[in-house]
């Protein structure tokens, strides 16, 4: 007969931020279904923002009250530990500002599945009355929910589900740009096909690991590895495929091909969300898998990660030079940054204290990079051609004369990406490199030289990367403006707020990084729940 199943327990309090986001997403769908069209936006925007803020407040409460749990929640499916909470905080802040951007971007299609020019769409347009289209809000909330779940997942199944919950809305969101419909749809399709492909790899890897360990829980896998043969082919294949899936999501070479296309095609606020939130979530997940699950296999994998990290940095930096489209360039820059983050991931094999240091560095980097990215994309939304955003680099020539303030801000973000001192980006890069060098210093660790080598590769890549960032600055400030150059749209309150916040954080953290570092340190000191 069926064995008696005990009712599981779920820590609703700990998971409250997640529940809020998903709940709000569901309510959003209902609003979309039942609220009259003219009311929708005015319901959606506060709902979305409030839920994000509420979730963030809950994260804060958990952190401040010091009740960070030390055991996984929901029967070992989700681990809401220090790093998770920090990553949640970042993601919530980033998505909050991205929603502000989305709110200002009036150019979403009525419905992801509507055909351009079809009767459906025309009808929707006719009812539009300039109130904008609102399907995007619940989709964003779902994506954010997935992002929250992804790095907190404590077993591979939950991680896979989270991966899809995060990705599926993003696939759709990519296709929502109204002005450049074909481009956008193409991005959507490419993202979808490649994303689905990679998640299939993730899943097959999970299957193999399950075959080896008899469980998909990350600590369980770790124990099984400790007990069994760590070079079991099942395990090796499993982790290789799992790695493919995860590295795809963070856009590490050689799985980076989707990023430029998707970043270019997607509506810019969505690109901002992907470039910041998704990357943060995915790196969190990578950390958790390689840290909690892979604890006993590090030696076999370090060379691989080494190569991937180096390759990612090099590919991202070098290919970015050849780009002529600003969003593509930022996409490659995002690839390069993923490489830097992987350097940090490499540096997680030392003593607990060193690990905490590396983790702190990665968390810090994620926070500052995410904010700067959102700011940069927010600026992009303001530079417009008659046909939409002015994407081609040549259009940016001489913008510094037309809009000195805007260009200055953008230049500042670029400098932050390049890691120039007194910006947050420098502090992030420093933290990562320091962590990497530190992890090689313990006696008896032959990786010391390798880590130093990786850091040197990183440094060379940063120098190369600086070239294309600087090139944009050259274009903006040192070139003569074209006669029919792009117009700079008068920014609305939301966009101004986003840019201002991003700028303040980038400057502030650059001058006084301790503010964020301290929090990251607290979050990282407890390490991941093993």
């Amino acid at each position: 007969m069926n064995p008696a199943i005990e009712a599981p327990t779920i820590e609703y309090g700990t998971l409250a931020p997640l529940l809020i986001i998903f709940g709000a997403a569901c309510i959003g769908v209902l609003v979309e279904a039942f609220a009259p069209r003219y009311l929708r936006k005015s319901i959606h925007v506060p709902l979305t923002l409030l839920s994000l803020a509420g979730a963030f407040a809950l994260v804060l409460v958990q952190t401040v009250r010091g009740q960070v749990s030390t055991t996984p929640s929901a029967m070992g499916a989700i681990a809401v530990d220090g790093p998770s909470l920090f990553i949640w905080g970042i993601i919530l802040v980033l998505s909050f500002v991205c929603v502000l951007l989305i709110n200002d971007e009036g150019h979403f299609v009525a419905s992801a599945a509507a055909v351009p020019g079809s009767a459906d769409e025309e009808e929707a347009e006719a009812h539009d009355n300039g109130t904008g289209h609102t399907e995007v809000y619940p989709l964003v909330l779902f994506a954010v929910g997935g992002m929250l779940l992804f790095p907190a997942a404590h077993d591979l199944l939950m991680m896979f589900v989270a991966l899809e919950v995060m990705s599926l809305p993003l696939y759709l969101l990519c296709g929502l740009a109204r002005r450049r419909r074909l481009l956008s749809q193409e991005a959507s399709m490419k993202y979808f096909l490649l994303g689905a492909f990679s998640s299939a790899f993730f899943l097959y890897g999970t299957a193999m690991i399950y075959g080896f360990a008899g469980t998909v829980s990350l600590p369980g896998i770790n124990q099984a590895m400790a007990a069994g043969n760590a070079l079991d082919p099942l395990l090796l294949i499993g982790f290789a495929m799992l790695g493919v899936g995860l590295l795809f999501k963070i856009g590490a070479a050689p799985f980076q091909a989707w990023k430029p296309d998707v970043y270019q095609g997607a509506p810019t606020p969505i690109t901002a969300l992907m470039a910041s939130g998704t990357l943060v979530a995915a790196v969190g997940a990578v950390l958790r898998v390689f840290w909690v699950g892979l604890g006993n296999l590090d030696w076999e994998w370090r060379p691989v990660i080494w190569a991937v990290a180096a390759l990612t940095m090099i590919v991202g930096s070098i290919l970015a030079i050849t780009q002529t489209e600003i969003k593509r360039m930022l996409a490659y820059s995002s690839i390069a940054h993923a490489g830097f983050l992987l350097v940090g991931v490499m540096a997680t094999y030392g003593s607990a204290q060193q690990n905490a240091g590396s983790l702190k560095a990665i968390l810090f980097y994620l926070a500052v990079y995410g904010i700067a990215t959102v700011g940069a994309f927010a600026v992009l939304t303001l530079v417009r051609d008659p046909g939409g955003e002015a994407g081609h680099l040549s259009r940016w020539a001489g913008l510094g004369k037309r809009a000195p303030l805007l260009s200055g801000v953008f230049a500042f973000f670029l400098l932050a990406f390049a890691g120039i001192p007194l910006t947050s980006g420098f502090m992030g890069k420093y933290a990562i490199f320091a962590a990497a060098l530190n992890s090689g210093t313990q006696p008896g660790d032959s990786m010391g030289g390798w880590m130093a080598g990786l850091v040197v590769v990183g440094v060379v890549a940063s120098a190369v990367a600086a070239f294309f960032y600087v090139r944009v600055i050259v274009l903006m400030f040192f070139s003569e403006p074209a006669a029919d150059g792009p117009a700079v749209a008068a920014p609305s309150m939301g966009t101004v707020a986003v840019i201002a916040v991003s700028l303040l954080v980038t400057v502030g953290v650059g001058l006084y990084p301790e503010s964020v570092l301290g929090v990251a340190n607290d979050a990282a000191s407890s390490l991941f729940i093993r």
């Binding site: 000195p404 007194l422 040197v456 440094v459």
Partner: protein
């Protein structure tokens, strides 16, 4: 804890913000504010200099604040003799540069009305200048290596914008080249900085605590390499010098002065302070290759300078030659040579600054940097020609002018240095002496071709220097001549810290330094 150095840095920053926030159309006010601020800094620097006791502690006016405890970084400042004179150099040059580039951003017009550089934002220019000044002071004052690095890199950005936005025709190329070279070196240094932190294991970046912390010779070599490459690029040393001629030629004259006069000194300053003291063994091990590079720089810079047709490029190449001397002096491992090198840093700043500015005034009149476009200037503009001559002679280290003292000290010190067996450095000193002759060739030839001879047609319309321009050049020339005859105040300040350096490097000091001051 002394508040003086932070104040010294804060004043120009505040000034920069004020200038940037001035309402539109108040260009003139912006210039005045900037000038005032820079003069205020000069005064404050004078106060600091007056309070500096050469016989006291090595680092004075020390201030330390916690900055990033997570990284072990402190906001630590303090000056020793070398740093003090370099800060003073910056403080002197900035008001002069402000005065010199009074009209640079207004759109420089030649006598016949052609526009060399278009109208640019005046406020931005002067605000950048002040920011740059703060950073220059910061970089010399920093005793925390991390802080030093931060200023070292951050300094690039205002300079980058000054070259890129306000420079000549090839400005963006030059600016990018400048930035990338420096950034690359800086990043290597960053790796070394991090490595230093962890290898030393002292949880701090404070320079005094890190001296002697690295014992492992192999590690010393690696870290030394990281620092040295960065400084060599900055200095610039052959073969990584190629950015300098472009940057200096394209930059507006004022910016070029700061670039060559102060910014590049950070490289030699860094070698003197960090490369030598932190990694003494490595420094000794690498002395010979570096000396070779320095000698090549000296000769190469001089020879190439002879072949230049562009005045600013020519001056830039002379600077490469001079930087070779400074590096040679630093690595000669004798107190005379090092004192000479430190002194040379200051004197070169004055001399090259004067030369750049004079050349800048000349170019502003004609709109062309090419030597061949001039001739017979001294007939139409005798004052200008006179200043040009003095500056040029300072560049070739004529005795009686300040450069001579330092160059002489470097050569004597190198010649007599026993650091590396008997002969090697002696040979180096002899070879580099050839450069003195070459220097005479390039400087005098340039002066002859521009100032003497038949007056070229466009030159005839030249006006002589106006009052502002005289006020720009006169202090410099005064300093050049003054320190030429009486370098003692500088040397008094410099010598103790050089002695300290050599003690840290464990090189026995001689008493020749005392003799050297007898000039």
């Amino acid at each position: 804890m002394s508040p003086w150095l932070p104040i010294l840095m804060a004043v120009p920053v505040v000034g920069a913000v004020v200038v940037a926030l001035l309402p539109k159309g108040s260009d003139k006010l912006a210039k005045q504010v900037a000038l005032l601020v820079s003069l205020l800094v000069l005064v404050l620097t004078g106060v600091v200099a007056a309070g500096f006791k050469p016989s006291g502690d090595r680092f004075q006016f020390v201030a330390e604040y916690n900055w990033i405890p997570s990284f072990g970084v402190k906001f630590g400042v303090g000056v020793d003799g070398v740093a003090l004179v370099l800060i003073a150099l910056s403080a002197v040059l900035v008001p002069i540069v402000i005065l010199a580039s009074w009209h640079d951003a207004d759109g420089v017009k030649t006598a016949d009305g052609t526009l060399i550089t278009p109208k640019r934002s005046v406020k931005t220019y002067f605000s950048l200048l002040l920011v740059l000044e703060a950073m220059m002071i910061g970089v010399f004052a920093a005793t925390d290596i991390f802080l030093f690095y931060v200023f070292f890199e951050a300094m690039l950005i205002p300079m980058y914008f000054m070259i890129g936005s306000y420079g000549g025709a090839q400005r963006s190329y030059a600016a990018v080249k400048f930035l990338l070279y420096s950034l690359f070196g800086g990043l290597l240094m960053l790796v070394a900085v991090i490595g230093l932190y962890f290898v030393a294991g002292k949880q701090t970046f404070m320079f005094p605590e890190l001296v002697g912390a690295i014992q492992d010779p192999v590690m010393q070599k690696w870290l030394f390499a990281g620092f040295f490459i960065a400084f060599a690029i900055k200095a610039p040393l052959w073969p990584v010098h190629t950015w300098l001629p472009d940057a200096a030629a394209q930059a507006p004259a004022g910016a070029a002065v700061l670039l060559v006069g102060v910014l590049d000194k950070v490289g030699t300053f860094g070698m003197l302070r960090f490369c030598l003291e932190l990694f003494p063994d490595a420094a000794k091990a690498f002395t010979m290759p570096i000396v070779v590079l320095a000698v090549i720089s000296i000769i190469y810079g001089a020879i190439v300078a002879i072949g230049q047709t562009d005045m600013k490029r020519l001056i830039a190449y002379t600077s490469i030659s001079h930087f070779g001397f400074i590096v040679l002096g630093v690595f000669a491992m004798s107190d005379v040579a090092q004192s000479g090198a430190a002194l040379y840093m200051v004197n070169h700043g004055f001399a090259t600054g004067a030369l750049f500015l004079a050349a800048g005034f000349l170019i502003a009149r004609r709109g062309s940097p090419f030597i061949s476009d001039y001739g017979g200037v001294q007939k139409v503009a005798p004052v200008l020609a006179g200043f040009f001559l003095v500056a040029g002679l300072a560049g070739l280290s004529l005795p009686g002018l300040s450069s001579f003292v330092s160059e002489f000290m470097v050569m004597i010190g190198t010649y007599s240095s026993q650091a590396h067996g008997s002969g090697a450095l002696t040979v180096a000193a002899i070879i580099s002496a050839v450069a003195v002759i070459l220097a005479a060739v390039y400087i005098l030839w340039m002066i002859q071709r521009t100032m003497n001879g038949p007056t070229a047609e466009p030159v005839k319309a030249f006006k002589d220097l106006n009052a502002r321009e005289v006020w720009v050049l006169a202090p410099l020339v005064a300093l050049i001549i003054g320190f030429g005859f009486f370098p003692k105040p500088l040397l008094d300040v410099i010598n103790p810290s050089v002695q300290q350096t050599l003690t840290n490097v464990k090189v026995p000091t001689s008493t020749i330094a005392e003799k050297g001051t007898g000039q």
